[in-house]
């Protein structure tokens, strides 16, 4: 499974040798600027960002993945949930399975399938979908190839049919009985909202709405926009969530319940926001639009 290992290496900062790898894969050569823009500012290639309860690096999601390494008897690397690391580990398990005598192949096939369904397919297809919309051309081509390989693996590898633990244990975003959520925090937590809202998306929202975009991290920028035109911001976000739900739904063919989970979460977000579109919208939606 050298292909996945090489694709993982291309998720690392470009290096003089990156061109050689890209040529072997017949992919465009990404530049350092493209790498920085995509992976440092737009789409962070860490599972914990998409699967964690807080939408941030680390936490329980990363611990779960580190635990997977330990269960394999391997010390977890410093960043066990980085996409490159996960693809490399998958390639490693596939190689072990291929080299094992037939009667022992299952020893490696089971963890390989678990890694695929629990820690890769639970978020990477959603991540790659987003990349297709916003990524620079070199990485769009790369992402297409990653997706192609993963889809083939999804068809080839056994699947229990149950949701990955990361998704099963994700708390609901809009629990009517619970305390009123911080909407902006929830929106920026993919596993809760079902959305990946990048910096580019926030900028696009500002352009679409004709409001000022304050430089800063996404939550800060959204707060600033909410203080200018809360009603239209909520409507924009609701529409964005609806589109995301539709995009997720289209993955159902090969992701099954995983795609359904993401689509359901995004649809719930859209519904929640739609219900909040009466005055004062931000307050109803739980957005504190006072100056951050």
């Amino acid at each position: 499974m050298e292909l996945l290992r090489a694709l993982g290496a291309l998720a690392e900062p470009p290096h003089p040798e990156t061109a050689r790898l890209a040529a072997l894969l017949e992919l465009p050569v990404p530049s350092s600027e493209e790498y920085t823009r995509l992976f440092l500012f737009e789409l962070y290639p860490f599972a914990s960002v998409y699967l964690g309860d807080e939408g941030m690096l680390g936490g329980e999601a990363r611990d779960r993945i580190a635990g997977f390494w330990r269960a394999l008897g391997e010390p977890p690397p410093a960043e066990p949930d980085h996409l490159a690391v996960l693809l490399s580990l998958y390639a490693h398990l596939a190689d072990l399975e291929r080299k094992a005598p037939p009667e022992r192949a299952a020893v490696f096939r089971r963890p390989r399938a678990a890694l695929l369904w629990e820690h890769l397919l639970s978020w990477v297809p959603i991540f790659l979908d987003k990349l297709q919309q916003t990524g620079p051309p070199a990485y769009v081509a790369w992402g297409g190839l990653v997706r192609e390989v993963l889809e083939r693996e999804a068809w080839d590898m056994p699947y229990s049919g149950s949701l990955p633990l990361h998704l099963r244990s994700a708390p609901p975003a809009w629990d009517a009985a619970g305390a009123r959520p911080d909407v902006l925090v929830t929106m920026l937590t993919p596993v809760r909202s079902g959305l990946i809202l990048t910096r580019s998306d926030v900028g696009r929202a500002a352009r679409d709405l004709g409001v000022g975009l304050r430089a800063g991290e996404r939550r800060y920028a959204l707060h600033a926009m909410a203080s200018q035109d809360p009603g239209r911001l909520v409507r924009w976000l609701a529409e964005y969530a609806r589109e995301a739900a539709e995009a997720h739904r289209r993955l159902n063919g090969w992701l099954g319940p995983v795609a359904d989970f993401w689509a359901r979460r995004a649809r719930n977000t859209a519904d929640y926001l739609a219900n909040a579109q009466t005055s004062p919208p931000c307050e109803r939606a739980g957005i504190d639009h006072r100056a951050p």
């Binding site: 050298e2 290992r5 900062p13 290096h15 072997l24 010390p75 410093a78 490399s88």
Partner: protein, 968 residues
């Protein structure tokens, strides 16, 4: 192209790349730990100059490996040699090094500070005035070498071999200089070991023959450190990274440390015990395992010398294993948790919890003690002995996650020459009073000289600083300034130190990138060698510019020791008449002096299994391979050698004693690995010990008299120490019962993580990080003394006092104070290192010495603009000078802990003041001498020392006989 075709194409490309010895996935990468330049690019590595940003200015480097010399871990470094200037610009880790794996502590990269230190010694110096006066003239190497060689040659010719002495700090190499001394026929090796690790060593030695532990931390389930090994100590960097590996896998970490050290903060269980009580706790843990039958019964049955114990001490019992188990329970029953709690001040439940954790380890229990409590206390050697007792009970010996004997994880290639050990005995280093001492009684040398036991004609101090490092430094000054006692003092050192001021010659030696050395250490369960080399020399060779003498590339006239010793040896015996020259003579070109290239090429070609093949696969000679990569792993996962069957060829006309020790007449195979080995006595018919019969099979066993793990030591019994034949708790000299009113223990053995004794004061980055050593004192004690943080206190020892700042902290036990020994560097005149040495005045009034600070550290102009930016003024306080000698009567270890009184400083006291009465130091020396059981009274066989014990230079057996008559 289909996915499968892409996959095949990539696999083929990777296979082709790696077949060329290159890296397919270059770093930095999370996947392949390649945050290092790929090795195929080490000849031409390009980096941008960070200071030139935003301009993209390229630096072209050649990366040359060497080995760090700033402690004894021998971690790998990569020197970045600038191709434009031919100078080293920086040091980083060497990813090819099996021990350090590319990771270094702060001291490694700081080597660049030492290389560029504006205060370093660049030329040979000879004193101009009286010794210690501080006047020097530059001399040529020729003059210095001729003078020294003439003097040594005369001593040898006049049969005064014992007047030549070489006193070494951390050797940083494996046996080169010992072989030089052997070539001279001189029993003049003197080490620092008895101020360092003799206590730790003795405890291990009485168990397994070998005197060092090699814990396999990475694979452990429970790690027990009686040390601060995540931050300092021997092999701490290689060990610390493996401790963390284990912790990431869920291992539990238990740390014994009276202080809340950085290591203690990472522990799952921190034990802050009263100093000296550690063995009591460990034996309470052992007792728990024993009383609850939680030990590895089968391992104990097979490997303990329980039968010998029963015969010697329980002859009332039929010698069965079941009876031994009963005897074991009887023997340790009194070591209850409550007993340990009373001794240690740690509550019984905490000790019980530790015992429970240890009991869950199975054979994956890695333990470590080296200095710490073993070096602090009288009887401290029982700490490491009691610690290893836990390994032995659990069967966690030389198995994954357990603790190995060091020699199995170490490889010392047989060199081109191995001269026989000297045919004489030096009583200045191996006195009759200490027949069981692990190493030379080095720190007693001033007292022995004052006693009139001998004199020294030529005394080398080599990267060693006894005036500052050893206890009782003023006694050293008294001796070193007496030319009747020390005829010629030659200091071999890369940088100024307190002892070099009292030398006749100061000869500049290289730092880690300026010298050759070869070594191997027990960092994990593997055998590897690391090669230190002058990197500029290696770089020149890569550029096809041969170098014949390392001085051609080193700064100034800085030399390296290998070439120095070979040259000096040649000069001592220029015509070969003394039989010495042959040991430094070329084999390729007889009649010519051996070169370092030939010396190392021989070892790498003939004595390192697998290296020639590996080198050949890359089209290199073994020497070229080592110059390129700096390290080679010979074998990984050595395993329990003791359990291997002795091959039939080694069993000829065997004899066997009633305890199963097996002896053979088969000659010993000359192993390429000449790692020091204990040598158990032969049987009565002269057969050598070869193994031990266990359950009918002859296994290799351990190099102990019994061939087994020695729960019971017949050596200790026969040499008069019948009260400690088995692991026992010996109350320390700072036990509460032995303290006078107002006294409390001072812990002085801990290090500052970024410094290393006298080697790092010239590293500005390290100086900036750490430059003070306040007295740790608990708030309760501070209130009693009436002192707050930063206020001055006077700490009174048996022979004087020092004045230091207080640091009031709950990180130390109430009733105990602590002060790190890494600070307090001083110089008496202009010569010296200015970044971390205060300038002081020394004053002598009879036997009373005073040291007072004249100026603190301050900025100064130099070739390095950073010296003008020095913002710190402190250099710490030198406490060791106020400590009298405390030689442990068994191990010979200086017992560092002090019984002190702490009170507020007097109005006239100043920070850093030291006052000592060396007459009092003499009295304390004599008091401790009374504790010994000398060979001439206790030897069971009219020898000076048990022959089987390790000794760096080991005279032939006939020289072990006691002299007649003994007058002392």
């Amino acid at each position: 192209m289909t996915l499968d075709e892409l996959n095949r194409r990539l696999s083929a490309a990777r296979a082709a790349t790696e077949a060329r010895g290159e890296t397919f996935y270059p770093g930095p990468s999370r996947i392949h730990l390649a945050a290092y330049p790929p090795k195929e690019r080490w000849d031409h590595w390009v980096e941008l100059d960070s200071r030139a940003w935003p301009e993209r200015r390229e630096h072209r480097y050649m990366l040359v490996p060497t080995t760090c010399f700033n402690c004894e871990s021998a971690c790998g470094l990569l020197a970045y040699v600038d191709q434009a200037t031919h100078q080293v610009r920086k040091f980083e880790g060497n990813p090819e090094h099996p021990g350090s794996r590319g990771r270094n502590c702060a001291k490694g990269p700081a080597t660049i500070n030492q290389v560029t230190d504006p205060d370093r010694i660049l030329y040979p110096l000879k004193r101009a005035g009286a010794r210690g006066e501080g006047s020097w003239v530059q001399v040529s190497w020729e003059e210095a070498l001729s003078d020294i060689a003439r003097r040594i040659g005369r001593a040898i010719a006049e049969n005064r071999h014992n007047e030549v002495m070489y006193h070494v700090g951390r050797p940083g190499e494996d046996g080169f200089t010992e072989r030089i001394l052997a070539a001279w026929g001189v029993d003049g090796h003197n080490s620092h070991t008895n101020v360092c690790s003799s206590g730790g060593r003795a405890g291990y030695q009485y168990w397994m023959g070998y005197d060092r532990p090699s814990p396999d931390h990475a694979n452990a389930r429970v790690i027990l450190l009686v040390s601060a090994h995540l931050e300092t100590g021997h092999y701490f960097n290689p060990h610390a990274q493996r401790v963390i590996d284990a912790k990431q896998n869920g291992a539990k970490l238990i740390v014994f440390d009276t202080r809340l050290s950085n290591t203690a903060t990472h522990a799952d269980h921190w034990v802050s015990s009263y100093p000296g009580s550690e063995a009591a706790i460990l034996l309470a843990v052992a007792n728990y395992l024993i009383q609850h039958n939680l030990y590895n019964r089968e391992f104990v049955r097979r490997w303990f010398n329980w039968q010998e114990y029963l015969e010697a001490e329980r002859s009332d019992l039929v010698p069965t294993f079941e009876n031994f188990e009963r005897a074991l329970k009887d023997r340790y029953r009194s070591y209850t948790f409550d007993f340990a709690a009373r001794e240690s001040g740690v509550d019984a439940e905490t000790i019980a919890e530790i015992a429970r954790v240890v009991s869950t380890a199975g054979t994956r229990l890695s333990t470590h003690n080296w200095r710490s409590a073993a070096a602090g206390n009288e009887g401290g050697w029982q700490v490491s002995r009691s610690l290893f007792f836990l390994n032995a009970l659990m069967g966690a010996v030389a198995v994954p996650g357990g603790t190995y004997p060091n020699a199995w994880n170490k490889f010392v290639p047989r060199p081109i020459y191995t001269p026989p050990h000297p045919p004489r005995w030096n009583e200045l280093t191996w006195p009759l009073e200490y027949p069981l001492a692990m190493n030379e009684l080095s720190f007693l040398l001033p007292h022995f000289l004052k006693d009139g036991r001998g004199r020294i004609d030529v005394y080398f101090t080599r990267v060693y600083n006894p005036v500052w490092t050893n206890p009782d430094g003023f006694s050293w000054i008294e001796v070193l300034t007496d030319e009747q006692l020390v005829g010629l003092h030659v200091a071999l050192t890369p940088t100024w130190n307190e002892t070099a001021y009292f030398a006749d010659y100061v000869l500049p030696m290289g730092h880690s990138s300026e010298r050759h050395d070869l070594h191997s250490y027990e960092t994990h369960d593997a055998q590897w060698i690391g090669f230190r080399q002058p990197v500029l020399r290696a770089a020149r060779v890569r550029m096809n510019q041969p170098v014949r003498d390392t001085r051609e590339v080193n700064p100034g006239e800085v030399w390296e020791e290998n070439e120095f010793w070979m040259d000096l040896t040649w000069r001592i015996d220029p015509d070969g008449q003394l039989g010495i020259r042959k040991y430094v003579e070329s084999k390729k070109a007889p009649g010519e002096k051996l070169t370092v290239d030939e010396y190392y090429a021989y070892a790498f070609e003939h004595s390192v299994p697998g290296l020639p093949e590996r080198a050949s696969a890359e089209g290199l000679t073994p020497l070229q391979y080592m110059r390129r990569y700096g390290a080679f792993e010979i074998e990984r996962t050595i395993g329990p050698i003791y359990a291997q069957e002795v091959p039939p060829d080694d069993l000829q006309d065997i004899g066997e004693d009633h305890l199963g020790r097996v002896y053979t007449r088969a000659p010993k195979d000359p192993s390429p690995n000449v790692v020091p080995q204990p040598s158990p006595d032969p049987d009565a018919e002269g057969r050598r010990a070869v193994g031990v019969r266990i359950d009918g099979k002859i296994l290799r066993g351990f190099p102990t008299p019994s061939g087994r793990l020695e729960f019971y030591s017949r050596t200790l019994a026969r040499w008069g120490w019948t009260e400690c034949t088995v692991p026992t708790y010996l109350p320390s000299h700072v036990h509460p019962d032995k303290l006078e009113d107002g006294q409390m223990p001072l812990i002085s053995t801990f290090r500052l993580p970024v410094h290393i004794h006298t080697r790092s004061a010239n590293a500005k980055w390290l100086d900036e990080i750490a430059h003070t050593n306040p007295l740790w004192i608990h708030p309760v004690d501070a209130a009693r003394v009436g002192v707050r943080t930063a206020q001055l206190v006077r700490v009174e020892t048996e022979i004087g006092y020092f004045v230091v700042k207080a640091w009031v902290t709950e990180g130390i036990r109430p009733g105990v104070v602590a002060c790190s020994h890494h600070m307090g560097r001083w110089k008496v005149g202009d010569n010296g290192q200015r970044q971390l040495m205060a300038t002081v005045a020394l004053q002598q009034r009879g036997s009373t010495w005073d040291l007072a600070r004249r100026t603190n550290v301050e900025p100064y102009p130099s070739t390095d603009p950073d010296t003008g930016r020095i913002w710190w003024t402190d250099a710490g306080v030198h406490q060791n000078m106020t400590f009298p000698v405390h030689p442990d009567p068994i191990s010979g270890q200086h017992c560092w802990h002090q019984a002190v009184r702490v009170r507020r400083a007097e109005p006239d006291d100043a920070y850093g003041d030291i006052s000592v009465d060396t007459e009092k130091a003499r009295i304390v020396y004599q008091q401790w001498l009374q504790k010994t059981r000398p060979a001439h009274r206790y030897s069971p066989d009219r020898t000076r020392r048990p022959f089987w014990l390790l000794r760096p230079l080991k005279p032939p057996k006939e020289h072990f006989r006691l002299p007649e008559p003994v007058t002392r």
